[in-house]
Protein backbone atom coordinates (compact mmCIF):
# COMPACT_ATOMS: atom_id res chain seq x y z
CA UNK A 1 0.00 0.00 0.00
CA UNK A 2 1.38 3.36 -1.03
CA UNK A 3 1.75 6.15 1.50
CA UNK A 4 1.00 9.68 0.36
CA UNK A 5 0.85 13.18 1.75
CA UNK A 6 -1.85 15.69 0.89
CA UNK A 7 -3.58 18.83 2.07
CA UNK A 8 -7.32 18.62 2.67
CA UNK A 9 -10.47 20.03 4.20
CA UNK A 10 -12.65 17.61 6.20
CA UNK A 11 -16.12 17.69 4.61
CA UNK A 12 -17.94 15.32 6.91
CA UNK A 13 -17.49 12.23 9.05
CA UNK A 14 -19.39 9.03 9.72
CA UNK A 15 -19.12 6.88 12.82
CA UNK A 16 -17.54 3.51 12.18
CA UNK A 17 -17.50 0.58 14.60
CA UNK A 18 -16.66 1.34 18.25
CA UNK A 19 -14.33 4.29 18.08
CA UNK A 20 -13.41 4.94 14.45
CA UNK A 21 -14.67 7.37 11.88
CA UNK A 22 -14.82 7.51 8.13
CA UNK A 23 -13.74 10.98 7.09
CA UNK A 24 -14.69 12.46 3.76
CA UNK A 25 -11.96 14.82 2.61
CA UNK A 26 -11.59 17.26 -0.22
CA UNK A 27 -7.87 16.96 -0.94
CA UNK A 28 -5.83 19.44 -2.93
CA UNK A 29 -4.19 16.73 -5.03
CA UNK A 30 -6.73 13.93 -5.41
CA UNK A 31 -10.19 15.41 -5.18
CA UNK A 32 -12.65 13.74 -2.84
CA UNK A 33 -11.14 10.95 -0.74
CA UNK A 34 -12.80 8.69 1.83
CA UNK A 35 -10.54 7.49 4.59
CA UNK A 36 -10.69 5.64 7.88
CA UNK A 37 -9.43 7.41 10.98
CA UNK A 38 -8.88 4.84 13.71
CA UNK A 39 -9.73 5.46 17.34
CA UNK A 40 -10.62 9.13 16.82
CA UNK A 41 -13.79 9.00 18.89
CA UNK A 42 -11.85 8.12 22.04
CA UNK A 43 -11.40 11.24 24.15
CA UNK A 44 -7.63 10.77 24.27
CA UNK A 45 -7.21 10.46 20.51
CA UNK A 46 -4.42 12.52 18.99
CA UNK A 47 -6.06 12.67 15.60
CA UNK A 48 -9.66 13.30 16.59
CA UNK A 49 -9.76 17.04 17.17
CA UNK A 50 -8.09 17.66 13.83
CA UNK A 51 -10.48 15.55 11.80
CA UNK A 52 -13.65 17.45 12.55
CA UNK A 53 -15.66 18.87 9.63
CA UNK A 54 -14.35 22.23 8.32
CA UNK A 55 -10.78 21.65 9.56
CA UNK A 56 -8.00 22.40 7.07
CA UNK A 57 -5.31 19.75 7.50
CA UNK A 58 -2.07 18.31 6.18
CA UNK A 59 -2.15 14.57 6.39
CA UNK A 60 -0.48 11.28 5.58
CA UNK A 61 -2.62 8.49 4.22
CA UNK A 62 -2.16 4.87 3.29
CA UNK A 63 -3.81 4.04 0.02
CA UNK A 64 -6.46 1.36 0.44
CA UNK A 65 -8.65 -0.58 -1.92
CA UNK A 66 -11.88 1.18 -0.99
CA UNK A 67 -10.95 3.45 1.87
CA UNK A 68 -7.59 5.05 2.55
CA UNK A 69 -6.29 5.10 6.11
CA UNK A 70 -5.24 8.27 7.91
CA UNK A 71 -1.88 7.82 9.64
CA UNK A 72 -0.92 11.39 10.60
CA UNK A 73 -2.68 14.74 10.75
CA UNK A 74 -1.55 18.28 11.36
CA UNK A 75 -4.02 21.12 11.48
CA UNK A 76 -3.29 23.98 9.10
CA UNK A 77 -6.30 25.87 10.43
CA UNK A 78 -9.08 24.77 12.76
CA UNK A 79 -11.31 27.82 12.17
CA UNK A 80 -12.20 28.18 15.80
CA UNK A 81 -14.70 30.99 15.35
CA UNK A 82 -16.80 28.73 13.11
CA UNK A 83 -17.32 26.45 16.10
CA UNK A 84 -18.38 29.29 18.37
CA UNK A 85 -21.14 30.98 16.41
CA UNK A 86 -24.34 29.33 15.20
CA UNK A 87 -24.67 31.33 11.97
CA UNK A 88 -21.04 30.76 11.02
CA UNK A 89 -21.40 27.07 11.81
CA UNK A 90 -24.53 26.81 9.67
CA UNK A 91 -22.79 28.59 6.80
CA UNK A 92 -19.75 26.34 7.06
CA UNK A 93 -21.91 23.20 7.05
CA UNK A 94 -23.87 24.50 4.06
CA UNK A 95 -20.63 25.04 2.14
CA UNK A 96 -19.22 21.64 3.13
CA UNK A 97 -22.42 19.86 2.11
CA UNK A 98 -22.38 21.54 -1.31
CA UNK A 99 -18.73 20.60 -1.90
CA UNK A 100 -19.38 17.01 -0.82
CA UNK A 101 -22.18 16.82 -3.40
CA UNK A 102 -20.23 18.40 -6.24
CA UNK A 103 -16.72 16.97 -5.75
CA UNK A 104 -15.76 13.83 -7.63
CA UNK A 105 -13.89 11.01 -5.95
CA UNK A 106 -10.20 10.79 -6.77
CA UNK A 107 -10.43 13.48 -9.39
CA UNK A 108 -8.24 16.50 -8.58
CA UNK A 109 -9.99 19.85 -8.68
CA UNK A 110 -7.54 22.55 -7.50
CA UNK A 111 -9.91 25.50 -8.19
CA UNK A 112 -12.61 23.88 -6.04
CA UNK A 113 -10.14 23.24 -3.23
CA UNK A 114 -8.87 26.84 -3.35
CA UNK A 115 -12.41 28.16 -3.36
CA UNK A 116 -13.36 26.05 -0.34
CA UNK A 117 -10.36 27.11 1.72
CA UNK A 118 -10.97 30.73 0.72
CA UNK A 119 -14.62 30.60 1.74
CA UNK A 120 -13.82 29.06 5.15
CA UNK A 121 -11.13 31.70 5.77
CA UNK A 122 -13.55 34.49 4.92
CA UNK A 123 -16.20 32.93 7.14
CA UNK A 124 -13.70 32.71 9.99
CA UNK A 125 -12.55 36.32 9.68
CA UNK A 126 -15.36 38.33 8.21
CA UNK A 127 -18.70 36.50 7.86
CA UNK A 128 -21.15 37.98 5.37
CA UNK A 129 -24.84 37.50 4.70
CA UNK A 130 -24.13 36.49 1.10
CA UNK A 131 -21.19 34.19 1.74
CA UNK A 132 -23.05 30.91 1.17
CA UNK A 133 -24.96 32.28 -1.83
CA UNK A 134 -21.74 33.64 -3.31
CA UNK A 135 -20.13 30.24 -2.82
CA UNK A 136 -23.04 28.39 -4.41
CA UNK A 137 -23.08 30.66 -7.48
CA UNK A 138 -19.31 30.38 -7.87
CA UNK A 139 -19.61 26.62 -7.54
CA UNK A 140 -22.17 26.57 -10.35
CA UNK A 141 -19.77 28.72 -12.35
CA UNK A 142 -16.98 26.15 -11.82
CA UNK A 143 -19.39 23.40 -12.87
CA UNK A 144 -20.07 25.35 -16.04
CA UNK A 145 -23.76 25.75 -15.26
CA UNK A 146 -24.01 29.36 -14.14
CA UNK A 147 -27.22 30.95 -15.45
CA UNK A 148 -27.23 33.34 -18.39
CA UNK A 149 -28.06 36.76 -17.01
CA UNK A 150 -27.20 39.28 -19.72
CA UNK A 151 -30.03 38.38 -22.09
CA UNK A 152 -33.40 36.66 -22.03
CA UNK A 153 -32.78 32.92 -22.19
CA UNK A 154 -35.98 32.42 -24.26
CA UNK A 155 -35.99 35.19 -26.89
CA UNK A 156 -32.33 36.16 -26.69
CA UNK A 157 -32.93 39.89 -26.37
CA UNK A 158 -29.93 41.40 -24.54
CA UNK A 159 -30.71 43.33 -21.37
CA UNK A 160 -27.92 45.83 -21.93
CA UNK A 161 -29.76 48.05 -24.43
CA UNK A 162 -32.62 48.55 -22.00
CA UNK A 163 -35.10 47.03 -24.48
CA UNK A 164 -36.17 44.29 -22.12
CA UNK A 165 -36.36 43.90 -18.39
CA UNK A 166 -35.32 40.53 -16.99
CA UNK A 167 -37.83 39.62 -14.30
CA UNK A 168 -37.52 35.93 -13.61
CA UNK A 169 -35.08 33.04 -13.46
CA UNK A 170 -35.82 29.84 -15.34
CA UNK A 171 -33.64 27.22 -13.67
CA UNK A 172 -34.58 24.50 -16.17
CA UNK A 173 -33.50 26.60 -19.14
CA UNK A 174 -30.58 28.09 -17.25
CA UNK A 175 -31.08 31.82 -17.39
CA UNK A 176 -33.09 34.98 -16.86
CA UNK A 177 -36.39 35.56 -18.63
CA UNK A 178 -37.78 38.89 -19.86
CA UNK A 179 -41.19 40.33 -19.01
CA UNK A 180 -42.58 39.45 -22.46
CA UNK A 181 -41.53 35.79 -22.24
CA UNK A 182 -42.48 35.40 -18.57
CA UNK A 183 -46.01 34.00 -18.87
CA UNK A 184 -44.95 31.03 -21.00
CA UNK A 185 -43.58 27.77 -19.68
CA UNK A 186 -43.02 26.44 -16.18
CA UNK A 187 -40.00 26.36 -13.87
CA UNK A 188 -39.67 30.13 -13.74
CA UNK A 189 -39.35 32.17 -10.60
CA UNK A 190 -40.19 35.84 -10.40
CA UNK A 191 -37.13 37.68 -9.17
CA UNK A 192 -36.51 41.29 -8.38
CA UNK A 193 -34.11 42.96 -10.85
CA UNK A 194 -31.83 43.96 -7.95
CA UNK A 195 -31.45 40.30 -7.04
CA UNK A 196 -30.56 39.34 -10.61
CA UNK A 197 -28.08 42.21 -10.75
CA UNK A 198 -26.46 40.96 -7.55
CA UNK A 199 -26.14 37.41 -8.94
CA UNK A 200 -24.61 38.87 -12.11
CA UNK A 201 -22.11 40.78 -9.98
CA UNK A 202 -21.09 37.63 -8.09
CA UNK A 203 -20.67 35.66 -11.31
CA UNK A 204 -18.99 38.58 -13.06
CA UNK A 205 -16.04 38.63 -10.66
CA UNK A 206 -17.13 41.14 -8.05
CA UNK A 207 -17.80 38.69 -5.24
CA UNK A 208 -15.90 40.86 -2.75
CA UNK A 209 -18.15 43.82 -3.55
CA UNK A 210 -21.30 41.70 -3.44
CA UNK A 211 -20.34 40.37 0.01
CA UNK A 212 -20.87 43.86 1.41
CA UNK A 213 -24.62 43.39 0.95
CA UNK A 214 -26.18 43.49 4.41
CA UNK A 215 -28.48 40.78 5.76
CA UNK A 216 -32.05 41.47 4.69
CA UNK A 217 -34.68 40.57 2.09
CA UNK A 218 -32.32 41.05 -0.87
CA UNK A 219 -29.60 38.81 0.58
CA UNK A 220 -32.28 36.27 1.52
CA UNK A 221 -33.68 36.28 -2.01
CA UNK A 222 -30.27 35.77 -3.61
CA UNK A 223 -29.48 32.98 -1.11
CA UNK A 224 -32.77 31.29 -1.83
CA UNK A 225 -32.17 31.50 -5.58
CA UNK A 226 -28.66 30.11 -5.15
CA UNK A 227 -29.97 27.16 -3.12
CA UNK A 228 -32.61 26.41 -5.75
CA UNK A 229 -30.14 26.74 -8.61
CA UNK A 230 -27.67 24.39 -6.94
CA UNK A 231 -30.43 21.92 -6.09
CA UNK A 232 -31.59 22.00 -9.72
CA UNK A 233 -28.03 21.29 -10.85
CA UNK A 234 -27.50 18.47 -8.32
CA UNK A 235 -31.01 17.11 -8.87
CA UNK A 236 -31.39 16.69 -5.14
CA UNK A 237 -32.34 18.72 -2.09
CA UNK A 238 -29.70 20.26 0.13
CA UNK A 239 -30.21 19.51 3.81
CA UNK A 240 -28.30 22.17 5.69
CA UNK A 241 -29.87 25.36 4.29
CA UNK A 242 -33.36 23.94 4.62
CA UNK A 243 -33.01 22.47 8.09
CA UNK A 244 -30.96 25.03 9.96
CA UNK A 245 -32.38 28.16 8.35
CA UNK A 246 -35.76 27.40 9.73
CA UNK A 247 -34.34 26.55 13.14
CA UNK A 248 -32.32 29.72 13.37
CA UNK A 249 -35.36 31.72 12.33
CA UNK A 250 -37.22 30.13 15.26
CA UNK A 251 -34.76 31.65 17.69
CA UNK A 252 -36.15 35.11 18.45
CA UNK A 253 -33.01 37.18 17.96
CA UNK A 254 -31.65 35.65 14.75
Amino acid sequence: MALYRDEAVVLRTYKLAEADRIVVLLTAGRGKVRAVAKGVRRTGSRLGGRLEPSTHVQLMLHEGRELDVVTQVEAVHQFRTIREDLVRLRDALAILEAVDQVARERSPDPPLFAMLVGALRTLDRRPAALLVAGFYWKLLGLEGTAPMLDACVRCGTPAAGGDVELVALDLAEGGAVCRVCLPTGGGRRAVRPEALALVARILGGDLAGALATPAGPLAAEVTNLATQALEAHLERRLRVPRLLDRSIADVPTW
Binding site: A17, G44, R83, L86, R239, V251
Partner: protein, 209 residues
Protein backbone atom coordinates in the same frame (compact mmCIF):
# COMPACT_ATOMS: atom_id res chain seq x y z
CA UNK B 1 -29.92 -17.85 -0.38
CA UNK B 2 -30.56 -19.45 2.98
CA UNK B 3 -33.75 -21.00 4.30
CA UNK B 4 -36.13 -18.15 4.87
CA UNK B 5 -36.00 -18.32 8.69
CA UNK B 6 -32.22 -18.02 8.63
CA UNK B 7 -32.34 -15.24 6.06
CA UNK B 8 -34.86 -13.34 8.20
CA UNK B 9 -32.47 -13.55 11.16
CA UNK B 10 -29.54 -12.35 9.02
CA UNK B 11 -31.64 -9.44 7.75
CA UNK B 12 -32.64 -8.38 11.27
CA UNK B 13 -29.07 -8.61 12.57
CA UNK B 14 -27.88 -6.63 9.56
CA UNK B 15 -30.07 -3.73 10.64
CA UNK B 16 -28.17 -3.33 13.91
CA UNK B 17 -25.77 -0.38 14.03
CA UNK B 18 -22.23 -1.29 12.98
CA UNK B 19 -23.21 -4.76 11.73
CA UNK B 20 -22.55 -5.33 8.04
CA UNK B 21 -23.90 -8.23 5.94
CA UNK B 22 -20.81 -10.36 6.62
CA UNK B 23 -21.00 -9.92 10.39
CA UNK B 24 -24.76 -10.51 10.33
CA UNK B 25 -24.15 -13.85 8.66
CA UNK B 26 -21.44 -14.78 11.16
CA UNK B 27 -23.61 -13.90 14.16
CA UNK B 28 -26.61 -15.77 12.72
CA UNK B 29 -24.58 -18.98 12.33
CA UNK B 30 -23.15 -18.53 15.79
CA UNK B 31 -26.70 -18.34 17.17
CA UNK B 32 -27.72 -21.42 15.19
CA UNK B 33 -24.91 -23.43 16.78
CA UNK B 34 -25.72 -22.32 20.33
CA UNK B 35 -27.66 -24.65 22.65
CA UNK B 36 -31.33 -23.66 22.72
CA UNK B 37 -31.24 -22.24 26.22
CA UNK B 38 -28.33 -19.90 25.45
CA UNK B 39 -29.92 -18.53 22.31
CA UNK B 40 -33.31 -18.15 23.97
CA UNK B 41 -31.74 -16.21 26.82
CA UNK B 42 -30.90 -13.50 24.28
CA UNK B 43 -34.43 -13.58 22.88
CA UNK B 44 -35.81 -13.34 26.41
CA UNK B 45 -33.55 -10.42 27.32
CA UNK B 46 -34.81 -8.53 24.27
CA UNK B 47 -38.41 -9.35 25.22
CA UNK B 48 -37.97 -8.25 28.82
CA UNK B 49 -36.32 -5.00 27.82
CA UNK B 50 -39.13 -4.19 25.41
CA UNK B 51 -41.76 -5.01 28.03
CA UNK B 52 -40.20 -3.24 31.00
CA UNK B 53 -38.06 -0.46 29.64
CA UNK B 54 -39.23 2.78 28.09
CA UNK B 55 -38.16 6.41 27.97
CA UNK B 56 -38.60 8.31 31.22
CA UNK B 57 -41.56 10.59 30.67
CA UNK B 58 -39.73 13.44 32.39
CA UNK B 59 -36.12 13.29 31.21
CA UNK B 60 -36.13 10.72 28.34
CA UNK B 61 -33.47 8.64 30.00
CA UNK B 62 -34.02 4.88 30.12
CA UNK B 63 -36.72 4.01 32.66
CA UNK B 64 -37.36 0.52 33.96
CA UNK B 65 -40.57 -0.52 35.66
CA UNK B 66 -40.45 -2.88 38.69
CA UNK B 67 -42.09 -5.82 37.02
CA UNK B 68 -43.29 -6.55 33.54
CA UNK B 69 -46.91 -5.82 32.99
CA UNK B 70 -49.31 -3.85 30.89
CA UNK B 71 -49.47 -0.98 33.42
CA UNK B 72 -45.82 -0.13 33.14
CA UNK B 73 -43.97 1.73 30.42
CA UNK B 74 -45.74 4.90 29.27
CA UNK B 75 -46.10 6.49 32.68
CA UNK B 76 -42.72 5.53 34.07
CA UNK B 77 -40.02 7.77 35.43
CA UNK B 78 -36.38 6.77 35.65
CA UNK B 79 -34.59 6.02 38.94
CA UNK B 80 -32.89 9.41 38.93
CA UNK B 81 -36.10 11.40 38.45
CA UNK B 82 -37.76 9.37 41.22
CA UNK B 83 -34.90 9.99 43.63
CA UNK B 84 -36.10 12.66 46.10
CA UNK B 85 -32.54 13.53 47.14
CA UNK B 86 -31.73 14.89 43.69
CA UNK B 87 -31.46 18.68 43.31
CA UNK B 88 -34.34 19.63 41.01
CA UNK B 89 -32.91 23.10 40.37
CA UNK B 90 -29.93 21.67 38.51
CA UNK B 91 -30.36 20.08 35.09
CA UNK B 92 -27.66 18.35 33.07
CA UNK B 93 -28.58 18.13 29.37
CA UNK B 94 -26.98 15.24 27.48
CA UNK B 95 -27.28 13.66 24.04
CA UNK B 96 -27.90 10.00 24.92
CA UNK B 97 -28.74 7.78 27.91
CA UNK B 98 -25.18 6.45 27.85
CA UNK B 99 -24.00 9.98 28.66
CA UNK B 100 -26.13 9.89 31.84
CA UNK B 101 -24.24 6.77 32.84
CA UNK B 102 -20.91 8.48 32.11
CA UNK B 103 -21.75 11.54 34.23
CA UNK B 104 -23.19 9.38 37.04
CA UNK B 105 -19.92 7.44 37.20
CA UNK B 106 -18.11 10.63 38.21
CA UNK B 107 -20.26 10.87 41.36
CA UNK B 108 -19.92 14.67 41.03
CA UNK B 109 -23.41 15.56 39.92
CA UNK B 110 -26.45 15.67 42.23
CA UNK B 111 -29.05 17.21 39.92
CA UNK B 112 -31.33 15.69 37.34
CA UNK B 113 -30.84 15.06 33.63
CA UNK B 114 -32.53 15.77 30.34
CA UNK B 115 -31.71 13.45 27.44
CA UNK B 116 -32.12 15.06 24.00
CA UNK B 117 -31.86 11.66 22.29
CA UNK B 118 -29.38 12.97 19.74
CA UNK B 119 -27.52 16.08 18.64
CA UNK B 120 -28.14 18.59 15.88
CA UNK B 121 -26.56 17.27 12.69
CA UNK B 122 -28.00 19.06 9.64
CA UNK B 123 -25.94 16.97 7.20
CA UNK B 124 -27.66 13.85 8.55
CA UNK B 125 -31.04 15.57 8.46
CA UNK B 126 -31.26 15.93 12.25
CA UNK B 127 -32.51 19.36 13.30
CA UNK B 128 -33.87 20.71 16.60
CA UNK B 129 -37.35 19.35 15.81
CA UNK B 130 -36.06 15.79 15.93
CA UNK B 131 -34.72 16.23 19.46
CA UNK B 132 -36.44 16.52 22.88
CA UNK B 133 -35.94 20.29 22.97
CA UNK B 134 -39.58 21.31 23.37
CA UNK B 135 -39.79 18.98 26.37
CA UNK B 136 -36.67 20.61 27.83
CA UNK B 137 -38.20 24.09 27.54
CA UNK B 138 -41.37 22.87 29.26
CA UNK B 139 -39.38 21.57 32.23
CA UNK B 140 -37.54 24.81 33.01
CA UNK B 141 -40.55 26.67 34.38
CA UNK B 142 -42.46 23.63 35.61
CA UNK B 143 -39.61 22.31 37.76
CA UNK B 144 -38.05 25.60 38.81
CA UNK B 145 -34.75 24.88 37.09
CA UNK B 146 -32.09 27.44 38.07
CA UNK B 147 -29.05 26.09 36.23
CA UNK B 148 -28.66 24.09 33.05
CA UNK B 149 -25.38 22.36 32.31
CA UNK B 150 -24.84 21.43 28.68
CA UNK B 151 -22.88 18.20 28.56
CA UNK B 152 -22.35 17.32 24.90
CA UNK B 153 -19.66 15.58 22.91
CA UNK B 154 -16.88 17.99 21.98
CA UNK B 155 -17.51 17.53 18.26
CA UNK B 156 -19.24 19.65 15.64
CA UNK B 157 -22.70 18.21 16.38
CA UNK B 158 -22.23 18.87 20.12
CA UNK B 159 -21.11 22.42 19.37
CA UNK B 160 -24.08 23.03 17.07
CA UNK B 161 -26.48 21.75 19.73
CA UNK B 162 -24.88 23.87 22.46
CA UNK B 163 -24.93 27.01 20.29
CA UNK B 164 -28.54 26.43 19.32
CA UNK B 165 -29.67 25.88 22.92
CA UNK B 166 -27.74 28.84 24.24
CA UNK B 167 -29.44 31.18 21.79
CA UNK B 168 -32.79 29.59 22.55
CA UNK B 169 -32.39 29.87 26.34
CA UNK B 170 -30.56 33.15 26.66
CA UNK B 171 -33.61 35.24 27.55
CA UNK B 172 -34.85 32.80 30.17
CA UNK B 173 -34.04 33.33 33.84
CA UNK B 174 -31.76 30.33 34.04
CA UNK B 175 -28.00 30.06 34.39
CA UNK B 176 -26.52 28.24 31.43
CA UNK B 177 -23.12 26.56 31.54
CA UNK B 178 -21.27 24.11 29.33
CA UNK B 179 -18.79 21.54 30.58
CA UNK B 180 -15.20 22.57 30.00
CA UNK B 181 -13.41 20.81 27.21
CA UNK B 182 -9.75 20.20 27.62
CA UNK B 183 -6.94 17.73 27.71
CA UNK B 184 -7.41 14.07 28.56
CA UNK B 185 -5.84 13.00 31.84
CA UNK B 186 -2.65 11.07 31.13
CA UNK B 187 -2.15 12.66 27.71
CA UNK B 188 0.89 14.65 26.60
CA UNK B 189 0.46 18.38 26.05
CA UNK B 190 2.58 18.33 22.89
CA UNK B 191 0.13 16.00 21.17
CA UNK B 192 -2.92 18.12 21.85
CA UNK B 193 -4.53 19.66 18.79
CA UNK B 194 -4.86 23.43 18.62
CA UNK B 195 -8.63 23.56 19.16
CA UNK B 196 -8.47 21.35 22.26
CA UNK B 197 -5.52 23.25 23.71
CA UNK B 198 -7.19 26.58 22.90
CA UNK B 199 -10.32 25.56 24.72
CA UNK B 200 -8.35 24.19 27.64
CA UNK B 201 -6.56 27.55 27.96
CA UNK B 202 -9.85 29.38 27.82
CA UNK B 203 -11.32 27.14 30.53
CA UNK B 204 -8.27 27.56 32.82
CA UNK B 205 -8.81 28.21 36.49
CA UNK B 206 -6.91 29.70 39.34
CA UNK B 207 -4.59 27.42 41.23
CA UNK B 208 -5.29 27.49 44.94
CA UNK B 209 -2.35 28.86 46.96
Amino acid sequence: MYASAVQALIDELGRLPGVGPKSAQRIAFHLLKLPDEDALRLAKAINTVKARVSWCRRCFNIAESERPGPEAPASTECDICRDARRDTGLLCVVEEPKDVVAVERTGEFRGRYHVLQGAISPIDGVGPDQLRIRELLARIGAEGVAEIILCFNPNIEGDATALYLSSLLKDLPVKLTRIASGLPVGGDLEYADELTLGRALEGRREVAP
